[in-house]
Subunit: 315 residues, 2 copies
Amino acid sequence: MDVIESITEVAKKLPKGYSKIGDDVALVPPGEGKLVLKVDMLVEHTDVPRGMTYRQAARKAVAMCVSDFAAKGARPDSFMVSLGLRKGVTRGEVDELALGFGDAEREWKVRLVGGDTNESQELVIDCAMAGFAESIVGRKGARAGDALVVTGLFGYPPAGLEILEHGAAAEPLFEKRARSSVLLPAPSLRLGRALAPYLSSAMDSSDGLARSLHILAKESGVGFELTSLPVGVGVDRFAAANGLQAEELVLEGGEEYLIVGTVPKRKTASAKAAARRADGQLIEIGRVTARPGRVELRTRGGGSPIRDVGWTHLR
Amino acid sequence: MDVIESITEVAKKLPKGYSKIGDDVALVPPGEGKLVLKVDMLVEHTDVPRGMTYRQAARKAVAMCVSDFAAKGARPDSFMVSLGLRKGVTRGEVDELALGFGDAEREWKVRLVGGDTNESQELVIDCAMAGFAESIVGRKGARAGDALVVTGLFGYPPAGLEILEHGAAAEPLFEKRARSSVLLPAPSLRLGRALAPYLSSAMDSSDGLARSLHILAKESGVGFELTSLPVGVGVDRFAAANGLQAEELVLEGGEEYLIVGTVPKRKTASAKAAARRADGQLIEIGRVTARPGRVELRTRGGGSPIRDVGWTHLR
């Protein structure tokens, strides 16, 4: 079967100025500003947890790129997918992938413009995304005194993974939210673009909050002092019931798809208002310090260091 | 180890206007015309024959994209690589990959602007390439009466694969050329861009000459009559010595990285001259007919159909 053809049949018709899918390369009309590029590869045994359908995996592969565009305030336009498919892949599985790419197209208003298929030993979806921006929010601009902000609460995806992979117990509503955060990650381009003018530095949190903090601290040559942890509602209770540490779920979980960034103090009120207008939120969790590389949580007794522990893939 | 960092250390410093490697996305200055995008995935068990080093595999992954840009007359600017690496990948292997990407950068004047690394069960290199063009040579423009042209002789890569994979016997000079055609494929951007103004349709021949002819015929709604086969020097003798059919090696081999195209009759002399100026060649092998989908080789007795048999991957 012609996999790319069946996948693009499901995708939206491309507007004028785009090449028809099926040529050797894709042609995209020039946009405003510089070209923004991103690749992110989804590999079945590390990125597709038990319970995730092919449709969800396809959508997630695109979400992984969208999340970076959101954190950088860039506008994605088009994406291509390179697929590695097992020898015995079924028509039904290919149709599922197609539906997932279609979901991503509609949800983030991006266009699938081409792709490549190959035989591999497990499902591999490499998404290459292109878009435009005049400039992007970097990783180096955090300054001592800036507010440290995040765009949501953490801990749902690692809890969801515990539920999906290890059958951890959870209350029904929490379980629903936690599972959905894993199966249908929802980076917000609208929020990212609304916040970009206010952010002095930012990145997404797909490798975990702790990892993002340490990277931003290192790249900007600053430290962070957290005054509170952005603990998701119910994460404490879920952790206690399953013998886990809530703090670890929040800091070291990964797959979060929220933005971690810094905002100059005088801009925080406007940034929060901009987030609300974009149907999002901006939560202040601490401040930038002049102590390079030091990332700590302020406690009654002083500061306790936050470990630089990144998200390690499934299994 | 930080794989992308070690790989980009070997790569060239990026000129002004490009983002530094290591941010979440890459920024590329806008170029002339529309954006051209291409992804191509190299998978170890189907694309890396015995005897190919990691350095050559990395260079080949980029060559696969370059070949399509060449056939379409587009100018590549930047590329990103998504790597799938085995769990036990060594420092030495990563360094080899880095060298191969560096080779590609210098050879085709393209810039590695970012990437992603993952754990996978075999080596996977997905190359996503971006560049610019006012327009591209399509697949639909062939018209009855046009000359059918190729940019070189066929049969070396399939012979090289027989040598590398199955120890086929060959004369030393032929063996060298055949092996090199597999291990160091050399698509020519210079030739592709020089020819683009003359071509009414074109594509690369990485899936084999027969496959390319059938695709162009189908897409353009025409037929092809070949008056001669572009048989590589020594391919006949190699085939005879190894119990193979030279015609099959030439038509059904694949991995060729030459351009197959059509040129309006009145432009063939200028196109040939343009090819020579670009240190290449343009070989007329037949003509376009008005018999849709019919691809045949003219023989003394009439025409013998050329089968639509594509390159099937290794193993």
